[in-house]
Amino acid sequence: MNWSSWLLWGFLATLVLTTISEVTQGLGLTRMNMPYLLGTMITPDRDRAKLYGFFIHVFWGWGFSLVYVLIFEALHETGWWRGVIIGLVQAVFLLVAVVNLLPGLHPRMASEQHGPESANLLEPPGFLALNYGARTPFAIFLSHAVFGAILGIFYHLK
């Protein structure tokens, strides 16, 4: 295990993923905003939520890159396409499983069962997070594929 390589490229890959996410929102491809979703778990203050969420997202992504690295180590191989495949698998897992669990995990998110008289809540993402825009899956696949590709290219096995 090459710890220094993981720390460096895991961090940089996460920054790129975050940047791509912001760009896809800015271009109107999706309203999926992970820093905002993560931050609103802690505070309802929109501006602070984005700030806290940004750091949580970076540390989360950095940590999750360890899984990629462990897979590379287990395979004894790296390479951009292996990284892309792992990224796409993670994106599918995120869109199908994690997103569906969010209303149960997030203290400020509505579910389909919430009536109109509850407190102000975030809209749930729905299947494949399509509630956040029809092109959300594309944005998620893109960002995670690039995330995986960076790790696949630059992580060096020991």
Binding site: M32, T40, P116, S118, E123
Partner: protein, 654 residues
């Protein structure tokens, strides 16, 4: 008999003998099937966007996320295609409406044979401290219909249409969460306390309410993040109450203690609604293409910030005690224009960007068939030299109230002055933006004189450390000489609108306001008579200039006339009479459009219009000052604030 357009767009004749109707109910005249009268609208907003609500409970204009964004409801400009959201009794009704005291929360009271119902409309407002404590939608309209007495059947018709009515909007059912609509990069949500039926692009329903029962609706818009779904029920009632309190607290901050408080504070509230809070810019109006002549092509997009409004706007805000808003607006003026300095454009968008090129929306029929509907503004590339004087006079007023400027701001102001010194003798399009070419406008010369005069004033009071004094003094004198010689027509015994010309316009009444000449001078007295004679439209209304066929009387010009009398052109009684006659033309909510039809009293042009409302406020301030023997702004040029006073306002920095 009373004609009303019910939500389904059909004209019904209502019996006049309805129960529970007060004697002073506003008269709803017979109207064309295609649109309400302009004055039949009220405005709600959140200082980022605004909606117009008709007397019959229909939101016919709403642009999100900004004032100048494409609309989601535009029935105002095309009742068939534009989209609307109406909530009103299904049976014939009469209407009385008002804002909740000192707020921008609109209440429309429907009087039917079977009972009375009240509709409350607002875009919520709250302090930043409170907003940090709960999730709040980016943009939100709240509508609450409450049955006050008897039993009333309420009909709801919700027809969103994207991009000024061009695109249908697909409505999707999200169960208990409400109805969701994806449009471009954003998402709209409609939540209601009772479920609505819906088709592909329309939601609707009929609900019978008994006394004490209510229907609640929340319509939201979000870009760039998941939407926040607002709560209904008790939370919504609290949200409405909190919004009312927020507006009332804002009004309480005013120090205004002069006459006509109700009209003045309603104007202040309208002005506040037209301010874009993220930047401090103030829109000229909330709408586009409401016609200056019904059926004509004089239809323009006013959802931008005109620099010509600067001086009067600062005067209004400072005069009412809203120093924070004044500072915010002036900061916007000086910073947003940075990209073009020392040249100034006629208008900017809310963030100081160039206004979009003018486009015609041929698919819209226009208000009462007044075509074309335009977005963007072609006057963006005009030369209007008066804007320099307006901006610099605004800065001078800010300094008189105790404000200061850092070195960068001083440089910016001096840069404007140098531009004026080099260019004041150029012909320009002038304040009224005709598209017939450039001329040597007297008003533009006057404002160039004002620009140099105020800069020299600021320099003499040490608010500006360094400027080319000799140059500015020389050019100021040259402008004065030219105005006195070439803008004065001895045969007419009047100043004229264009050098060596033969016509007058209402801007000539501003000559004393800027301190160029006293209002009681023989020249100004005879000019006033000429303006009244040539441009008077009855009841102290004034046209802005001669035009054939005539457009409406220009709202602010009437108030300029009243103010001319206040600052020495007439007696205080005459000024009061003029003011009172003009105020009688406001609609039942106290709102003004750009113009007034002198034959019918109807509003014309974009609505509500900031320029008219700042004119009203400034005229009221002048009445107050005259009654108390205080100096008007131009006379205060030598009464600058002391250094101690200056601490009251911060130093403006870039």
């Amino acid at each position: 008999m009373l004609w009303v357009r019910l939500p389904v767009g059909i004209i019904f004749v209502c019996p006049a003998h309805l129960v529970g109707v007060d004697d002073y109910l506003p008269q709803v005249d017979k109207r064309t099937p295609s649109a309400h009268k302009i004055q039949d609208y009220g405005i709600i907003g959140d200082c980022r966007s605004a909606a117009l609500v008709s007397k019959t409970g229909s939101i016919d204009w709403l642009c999100w996320p900004r004032f100048d964004s494409p609309s989601i409801f535009a029935a105002l400009l095309d009742p068939e295609r534009g989209g609307h959201w109406s909530i009103a009794p299904a049976e014939p009704f009469e209407v009385k409406r008002s804002y909740i005291r000192d707020s921008n929360v609109l209440q429309t009271h429907f009087y039917c044979n079977s009972g009375k119902a009240s509709l409350t409309d607002l875009m919520p407002a709250a302090s930043e401290a409170f907003r940090r404590t709960i999730l709040i939608p980016d943009h939100e309209v709240i509508r609450e219909m409450r049955c006050v007495s008897g039993e009333v059947e309420i009909e709801v018709d919700f027809r969103p249409r994207a991009w000024y009515g061009r695109d249908a909007v697909r409505i999707r059912d999200s169960g208990k969460l409400g109805l969701r609509m994806e449009v471009g990069r954003g998402a709209y949500w409609l939540r209601s306390s009772l479920p609505l039926s819906f088709e592909r692009d329309r939601a609707f329903g009929k609900f019978r309410l008994k006394a004490g029962e209510r229907l609640e609706f929340v319509f939201t818009y979000t870009e760039g993040a998941p939407s926040v779904l607002p709560a209904l029920g008790k939370h919504l009632s609290e949200w409405i109450e909190r919004s009312v309190q927020w507006w009332q607290q804002w009004v309480d901050k005013s120090s205004y203690d002069g006459p006509y408080r109700e009209s003045v504070m309603r104007s202040a509230l309208a002005l506040k609604l037209l301010a874009y809070s993220p930047s401090g810019a103030i829109m000229a109006a909330a709408t586009t293409s409401l016609p200056e002549i019904i059926g004509s092509s004089l239809n323009w997009d006013y959802r931008y910030c005109w620099l010509r409004d600067a001086s009067l706007t600062i005067r209004a805000l400072l005069g009412l005690g809203y120093t924070a808003e004044a500072e915010s607006f002036l900061t916007w003026l000086l910073i947003a224009t940075r990209l073009t300095q020392p040249e100034l454009r006629v208008m900017y968008d809310v963030f100081g960007e160039n206004v979009p090129h003018e486009r015609e929306l041929s698919f819209l029929s226009g208000y009462c068939d007044s075509r074309p509907v335009r977005i963007g503004n072609g006057a963006r590339s005009q030369l209007q030299l008066d804007t320099y004087g307006e901006v610099i006079d605004a800065a001078a007023q800010f300094a008189r109230a105790g404000g200061g400027f850092d070195r960068t701001m001083q440089k910016v102001l001096v840069g404007f002055g140098k531009y004026v010194a080099d260019n004041w003798n150029r012909p320009d399009e002038g304040i009224w933006e005709p598209r017939s070419g450039q001329k040597d406008h007297t008003h533009s010369r006057l404002m160039c004189w004002t620009a140099l005069d105020r800069l020299l004033e600021l320099h003499s009071k040490k608010c500006i450390k360094s400027l080319p004094q000799a140059l500015f003094e020389r050019e100021r004198q040259r402008i004065r000489d030219e105005i006195e010689q070439r803008a004065w027509n001895e045969d007419m015994r009047s100043y004229v609108s264009v050098l060596d010309g033969k016509d007058v316009d209402s801007t000539l009444l501003r000559i004393p306001w800027y301190g160029f000449e006293r209002a009681n001078s023989s020249r100004m007295q005879s000019t006033y008579k000429a303006v009244r004679r040539e441009l008077g439209a009855g009841d102290h209304l004034l046209y802005r200039y001669k035009r054939n066929p005539p457009e409406g009387a220009f709202g602010i010009c009437g108030f300029w006339g009243s103010e001319f009398l206040s600052i020495g052109g007439g007696t205080l009684d005459e000024a009061h009479r003029a003011f009172e006659q003009l105020v009688s033309y406001q609609n039942d909510l106290g709102l003004f459009a750009e113009e007034i039809d002198p034959r019918t009293g109807s509003a014309l042009g974009n609505f509500p219009q900031a320029f008219t409302h700042v004119g009203l406020i400034s005229a009221a301030l002048s009445l107050k000052e005259r009654a108390r023997g205080e100096a008007h702004p131009a006379e205060k040029r030598n009464q600058m604030a002391t250094n101690t006073d200056r601490k009251a306002l911060g130093k403006m920095s870039a």
